[in-house]
Symmetry: C2
Subunit: 246 residues, 2 copies
DNA sequence: GTGACGATTATGTATATACATATTGAAACG
DNA sequence: CGTTTCAATATGTATATACATAATCGTCAC
């Protein structure tokens, strides 16, 4: 939960949330500039006529969200937000397509079980060779191709995947909920469609495409690498951010 | 012997953090699957031989982080990860170029002060007409164009910008630190280079480009809209996500 | 049966209190 | 004069307690 969300809920809510939103309001508006020392806990507890614990709860949350910095014996100070971090939501393609009011269709194009090639190992950042499942899938919005999916699953990490054909269910939704993932990395870039992608998306070769690659780890073990390719017009990623590092 | 002394001897960190990490460990590893009911506060406080408040602090943080869901009278349950959100870090272009080991150069191409056009108001999501500053800038890595910047600044929100030529400093760094921003939105997509962009980036017209658009607000007021266009090969956005531990 | 109602239970919030810890500034001392 | 020591102070963590709130369960009257 971001500070803004916390701050937004200003209605009939708990006292420590009110204190939190009051303070974040003053920081956001610039009334308390970076470096400003905010009142001590005992001052705020006097102002709000509450215990120090209640103030402490609010200030601790502000500190964890990165809005303020706390120093023993010195007090709490407004921080300047430094890293521009955006929260990028990546939705299920089915949801995305249906949100556009179009019929979603999924199609498994190809499925190969094999020992990992050097390329597979590079994609998965896998040290040793082992069995992998390579998948190629199409996602359609109405009759038009929406996205093309190329995926490699590390069967050492997800052995159950070897028995799944992925004809009815896409590998993304299948993996979610089955494999608890601990880390993920996205790479987003623009590319020109090669012949394979052009055919799959029914666009001209060389046309611009948005590529989203995702690598997922579960407890240090590489799970899967997936590359989604979207035709340029069909897709925009939207990310929102607030100055907090919540 | 106090609880604090025990905790200090075992981990060095605080007790509620230890409880928090113990639980999130079990969730991540899959030992506690989604839907699993985690022990009640009073059970955990007995297990850890601490007060309910300490357990409550840990569980509240897990709930805020989205790892568990709490229901009165029923208990706390492991949640299924639903929205795949990634933290997308967007760096200063200078930093980015210099990280590649290349010399950074900035160039202001054009600067116009004008009343906002309908297009400007659409970009800024501005209701009423008012003065804006339109800028066009080039960012270079070595001798090669790296990114092209097209920006509109709402002079009603940032009047000081009217007196700045932006010849020596890029508008991005200038704005950061001067305007406390409260919210921003990114849109990321792939486009084919039009003639203007092709000339600016020294690529062929129609070549794929990555476009990052950013809109910034400060306390409900639109501040700026900026569009960065990168040649496809020159740029990849990277986003990482680790389920947080509150 | 079934609907009303109260008991039970788990979480949510807040309190007063206590002691730990880090840091600052000033006093004491060699 | 410089260094050490110590007290003051603000935050950090934990406790025991209290009452509020929401949801669920069982009982009892109708």
């Amino acid at each position: 939960m971001s500070i803004v969300e916390i701050a937004d809920a200003e209605g009939g809510i708990s006292l420590h949330q009110r204190i939190l939103s009051d303070i974040s309001e003053r920081i956001m508006s610039g009334a308390w500039a970076p470096g400003h020392r905010i009142p001590f806990e005992h001052e705020l507890s006097a102002q709000y006529n509450c215990s120090r614990m209640t103030v402490n709860k609010a200030l601790s949350q502000l500190a964890k969200a990165g809005l303020i910095e706390r120093r023993r014996r010195s007090g709490s100070f407004v921080r300047r937000p430094q890293s521009q971090a955006a929260v990028l939501e990546i939705h299920d393609i089915r949801i995305e397509v249906e949100a556009l009011g179009l019929a979603y269709r999924y199609e498994r194009v190809a499925r190969h079980k094999r020992r990992s090639s050097a390329e597979d190992r590079a994609l998965l950042e896998l040290g040793v060779a082992g069995p992998v499942l390579a998948l190629e899938c199409g996602h359609f919005a109405g009759e038009r191709p929406f996205a093309h999916e190329q995926r490699v699953i590390n069967l050492a990490a997800v052995p159950e995947a070897a028995d799944e054909e992925f004809l009815a269910i896409a590998p993304g939704p299948w993996l979610i909920g089955r494999v608890p993932w601990s880390e993920a990395e996205h790479r987003i870039r623009a590319v020109a469609a090669d012949r394979l992608i052009a055919a799959a998306l029914d666009i001209a070769a060389g046309a611009p495409c948005l590529v989203v690659e995702r690598r997922t780890w579960s407890a240090e073990h590489p799970v899967t690498h997936v590359r989604f390719t979207y035709a340029a017009e069909s897709h925009t990623l939207v990310a929102r951010f607030t100055p907090s590092q919540g």
